[in-house]
Symmetry: C3
Subunit: 222 residues, 3 copies
């Protein structure tokens, strides 16, 4: 762990965030494409759902909450190119995706934390209030999945009892905002701690099968 | 009634609107939370639906139609804190909510009118055309319910035949815009008249069980 | 065909686009109204779905992707008036719409191409990257149908296998952007070629019943 400060020194904060942002867009696009393939959509449907899922979280962040000009996704070609790449890879390899289940799960958990931080950071930078920064981070991380589920007409999984998902994002974003706003931490350090927090909660929740319970059910028993 | 002009004199228009806005956000957040509890969502699902429902109408107004910088909900902490309060109260008291049915119905009818006026007023202030002000008012008042129903996968109730709901909002918003634009009325007077119009239509429609009918059905009979 | 250059000379590009835009808004509003009538919604539900469908594509274009102030639909009364007209016509003539099936299909195919071009052109004008211009065009042309289907709780038809629809829009928008960006073509010429491309693909796909196939199905057979 004694090489962490050294590593941080060499990290360009903006570059790190761009990488996290692109990675998250890639994963969301791929998960949208795979969902579309599973729902027996055609070529065009898979393509469109890749774009909607890949862009969803970022569009909610930039177009709904932050509103500082056109969303990055339409002014920087990298975003759309990476969605096309995710679409093509999903089209080619979807039959073999179950072998990658473990890898996808780990990358997804990492992305959940990282993308939450990307959204919270963007919100703080534009002068939103701290509580709103947590909110923007959480919707940045979970919005794409929400839109994907609404469009393919499945009940949004993030609402339903199960392993911690949105909960991990809420925790990670809260840690980031608290460290930066109250603790006056360095943004890069806060980003790493917050991402690892969300990642750990998500992975532990999968490993130990921690389950949330419906509110009504608990109530009925009491 | 002769103390009304006196009362108006002491009303600060912006404060009145802030109060109406916060009240509406509170009610929408609570209704989202209760719907989520009923759908057997977990803690996180109830929390997220509180936020989406509470913010829905205001985000449609600010981010989609008006577009004058970040929505008020993310630049003023009061909005998010009141949503958290609605969430907590719904979590604690949801088992006893049916006893409050009558109160909720009255507050909801009042909010429907008031929130429509808030949206219409904001739209006029930003220079939107009068017809658009009515539209923004109606979506401000009914958008949260629409988003809530889409997310929990129930057919939006505002589309379906039943007692006047969106209809009351349309009438109230039209009265407000007509009074302000054509009648050159004082905004506060117009706001009170319009809110009471929507409130009365909504309450009378519940009391006498006025029902709208499907268009196709009427046609089939003729 | 030798009168085409003559015709183009007299075309005012902005006027042409306004006409296409209004025509598309009219058609989307009418299709939303008809869908609402079919779903047995009441007067208010049909009215609201007319507005949501009529505005959907343009709002996605202006409020989500382009973000240059309030959407045109709320600053220019023409848009809302034409939606009211579409609503009224649908209310009066919905029983006889099946006789107009052929006409509607042709107008719809023309609108699909034209509205894609309207979106792509608006995106290029605001400095979005070329790939984003295609994306904005496609969502401008197909977004209203997507929102309509989500709201009335039907699985979005543009995702599902069938005749080319979104595919025709993708092709048309790509032709427009390629001609303008790479080919340096005159915008009006590119608009006509692109609209006719999308129109032809759509009409041929209906005439010869070209069908797309689900991705998963193809895979299962191989």
């Amino acid at each position: 762990m004694n090489n962490v400060p050294h590593l941080i020194e060499h990290l360009n904060f903006d570059t790190t965030f761009l990488v996290f942002d692109l990675l998250a867009v890639f994963m969301f696009a791929a998960s949208g494409a795979l969902a579309a393939i599973r729902k027996k959509y055609d070529f065009i449907g898979v393509l469109m759902l890749s774009f909607v899922s890949g862009l969803g979280g970022g569009l909610i962040r930039d177009a709904i909450f932050i509103q500082a000009g056109p969303p990055k996704a339409v002014t920087d070609s990298k975003y759309l190119i990476i969605i096309l790449a995710a679409f093509l890879l999903a089209m080619i390899f979807h039959g073999r995706m179950h072998r990658l289940k473990r890898t996808i799960m780990i990358v997804d958990a990492l992305g959940l934390g990282a993308y939450g931080v990307v959204g919270a950071q963007a919100a703080l930078q534009e002068g939103l209030v701290p509580l709103a920064a947590v909110l923007v981070g959480v919707f940045n991380a979970t919005g794409a999945g929400l839109i994907r589920d609404v469009l393919i007409r499945e009940e949004p999984i993030i609402f339903k009892p199960g392993q911690f998902y949105a909960g991990a994002a809420i925790l990670g974003c809260s840690v980031f905002v608290l460290m930066v706003v109250l603790g006056n931490s360095d943004h890069t350090v806060a980003a790493i701690v917050a991402t690892l927090t969300a990642f750990s909660v998500r992975m532990l929740s999968i490993y130990f099968n921690w389950q949330t319970r419906p509110i009504l059910d608990e109530d009925d028993r009491s």
